[in-house]
């Protein structure tokens, strides 16, 4: 009997091993590596000896004005995701769910499409659309009748996040629409019929019946949006040429990338970069905890 169990265990381990080994080596181990690295004085130019230096890199980071500027932009991206993509996605899902329109599959397919295209490519496309002599400028010229009019929002630090926010909404709204649609379709039809018979209007059904049921989905979408927008790299990297355009649109992942892989004069570049990386994770966790607390307080 015991021998049999041992053989079963061997078979079990054999089935689990390939995935587990790759996963532990390439996902789990780097998590530990990243934490240790951020507390070390690892210097790639000097044979890589590690000494513990405590929070030194985190202190450098907090004193770095680039960090705060990137964080501010990241928070704008989080705001756009949570208060732009999610409500619009919800609204589109609701329209499809209530069968207010025909050709629902067509609309669903189109709106979800950008999510599956390369974000780098989409970023380059919007960069071209927004450039000074590009289609958007031309559209403005045609509408205003002023042949010198230009789309200028990409050029100034105060406004650069507006077109970027638009592109972000363009890409990700479909994802939230699909998530909400799937959960809406689980709702019992009778509930809405009952509300209708009681004389509830469309807006009352929406606010009093649908929204409370979907509170959990809203929370999950918020968590996804926060985590996704803090680590988002590709779109801003390509729409502005590495977040530059005089660093206007710098966000934390690009700041991390430039610190670790482009700033060769900084001897601590990998350790400092790891500290920024970890800070991104910690900030996401704080925001996610915060949104959970908020949703509990509101009694969702």
């Amino acid at each position: 009997m015991k021998k049999r169990v041992r053989r079963e265990l061997l078979v079990y381990l054999g089935m689990v091993a390939p995935a587990l080994v790759i996963y532990l080596f390439i996902v789990a181990y780097p998590v530990v590596y990243s934490v240790l690295l951020s507390f070390s004085d690892f210097n790639p130019n000097r044979g890589g000896v590690w000494n513990f230096v405590g929070f030194r890199h985190y202190e450098t980071m907090l004193a770095d004005s680039n960090f705060w500027y990137a964080l501010k932009n990241n928070m704008i991206v989080v705001g756009i995701s949570v208060f732009g993509q999610i409500p619009i996605g919800f609204m589109l899902a609701y329209i499809l769910f209530r069968k207010m329109v025909k050709a629902r599959i067509f609309f669903q397919t189109i709106v979800f499409l950008p999510h599956f295209l390369s974000t780098i490519v989409i970023g380059i496309m919007w960069k071209r659309l927004f450039q000074a002599d590009g289609p958007v400028s031309r559209l403005i010229q045609m509408i205003t009748g002023d042949p010198t009019a230009q789309f200028e929002l990409m050029l100034y630090p105060e406004t650069v996040m507006i077109p970027i926010g638009f592109a972000l909404i363009w890409i990700y709204t479909g994802l939230y629409m699909i998530i909400f649609l799937a959960n809406l379709q689980k709702i019992d039809e009778n509930l809405m019929e009952a509300a209708k018979i009681d004389g509830a209007t469309e807006s009352q059904i929406f606010l009093k019946v649908i929204v409370p049921i979907l509170a959990g989905t809203i929370l999950i979408s918020t968590i996804l949006a926060i985590a996704g927008s803090l680590r988002g790299f590709d779109l801003i990297f390509s729409i502005t040429t590495q977040g530059l355009q005089r660093n206007n649109a710098m966000v934390l992942p690009i700041f991390m990338y430039q610190t670790a892989f482009q700033n060769y004069t900084n001897e601590m570049r990998f350790a400092y970069g790891a500290a920024i990386s970890n800070a991104i994770v910690v900030i996401s966790l704080i925001l996610i905890l915060f949104s959970r607390l908020l949703s509990r307080k509101r009694d969702f």
Binding site: L37, T109, G174, I178, F233
Partner: protein, 369 residues
């Protein structure tokens, strides 16, 4: 009273319906129009793009009467054949309408295939397309239509990068499916439930971890074992980061398969491996398709890992190639747009073919995660 309520409801619902159509059609247009512009503009010459950014392509298609000028061989005229191997004499001609004088739209015509008066032309002479033999005319006409695409492939070396992207997507997806399915089977149908719970939990957390947040340790690790700038290194990372979603979706699916099937096969003396190969794997086709499409599209579009790991042209993927091509050729908008279309078309085809499966998989991952 009752009929009154119904009436206002209908009126109200007509209003809502109209609004719903406006919103959805508006959003669909905002989604499609930029992509549509990108695709049709990729068939426009640079001159056309400068003249009118919105006009439909014409110049590259309307090439029957294009005029060419004979030019001398020069260093900046890059031949499309190997002059070391192929020493036959060629007439070099350049378009006088598409990027004239910039040596971008150049053809090399074999003199032996040309009629004598054309072959005798000297540098500086002009000729029209209709002076050439028919098959050559058709060939040049196609080359003109696909001018932007040919330039993107040859100057950005996108063909090789396209192949790399395909290798990364296909090989990683295969490993994700195989290893993910094996693990999911063990976790959901074999004994050792407690161990399964622990392993499932550890791997499940991975769904929240992205390549982006571990790029520095990944780079240092792979450097120390000499796997940066190799296909193997990049495929390993893609496989590892694709596993959590695969294990999650596969486990849900396999969990729903009847255990009686497995038990009866066991009774008949089938080994665990045999059960996996002959029962579980074939029955899991639906979830394998879902996982494959999500993983393959994700890998096809991934950027940062290859940007950091790939230092040579040999390992670069399409997004990285398109990105550097677009920053090197910022004045050739037509070429860039062609490169963008090359990178998005395969993803769009897969998306439209498997749209339903994708929605299921994404929602399954998002909610259970």
């Amino acid at each position: 009273m009752n009929s009154f309520t119904v009436k206002t409801n209908t009126l109200e619902s007509v209003g809502w319906r109209t609004l719903a159509y406006i919103v959805l059609i508006g959003w669909a247009l905002i989604t499609i129009l930029p992509l549509f512009w990108m695709v049709y503009s990729s068939f426009k010459s640079n001159e056309e793009l400068v003249r009118d950014i919105y006009a439909f392509p014409k110049e590259l298609f309307d090439n029957k009467n294009d005029e060419y000028i004979v030019i001398k061989p020069q260093l900046n005229v890059v031949p499309d054949y190997d002059p070391e191997v192929d020493t036959r004499e060629r007439l070099i001609i350049e378009s006088t309408s598409i990027s004239p004088g910039r040596r971008l739209m150049v053809h090399f015509l074999l003199k032996e295939e040309l009629p004598a008066p054309v072959a005798a032309l000297e540098p500086g002479d002009t000729l029209e397309l209709n002076q050439l033999p028919l098959d050559m005319r058709i060939r040049l006409s196609w080359k003109t239509i696909w001018f932007n695409y040919r330039s993107a492939f040859s100057r950005g070396r996108l063909g090789w990068k396209f192949a790399n992207s395909l290798i990364y997507a296909v090989v990683s997806t295969f490993m994700i499916n195989l290893f993910g399915l094996m693990m999911a089977f063990a976790l959901s149908k074999l004994q050792f439930k407690k161990l399964s719970l622990v392993i499932g939990g550890v791997v499940g957390i991975g769904y929240l971890i992205s390549i982006n947040s571990l790029i520095i340790p990944l780079f240092l690790m792979l450097t120390s074992i000499n796997l940066t700038d190799t296909h193997v290194g990049i495929i390993l990372v893609y496989t590892a980061f694709g596993l959590p979603l695969a294990v999650m979706l596969d486990s849900q699916f396999i969990h729903g398969l009847p255990s009686s099937l497995i038990e009866s096969a066991r009774m008949d003396g089938a080994s665990t491996f045999r059960v996996f190969r002959s029962i579980i794997a074939p029955m899991s086709t639906p979830v394998v398709v879902t996982v494959s499409i999500i993983s393959a599209l994700g890998i096809w579009n991934e950027f940062l890992l290859v940007l950091v790991l790939a230092s040579s042209e040999f390992t670069k993927s399409l997004p990285v190639g398109v990105y550097s091509f677009s920053s090197l050729t910022s004045t050739q908008l037509g070429w860039q747009l062609a490169a963008l279309v090359i990178a998005t078309t395969p993803a769009m085809i897969v998306y439209f073919l498997f749209q339903n499966r994708l929605a299921e998989g994404v929602v399954g991952g998002a909610i259970k995660g």
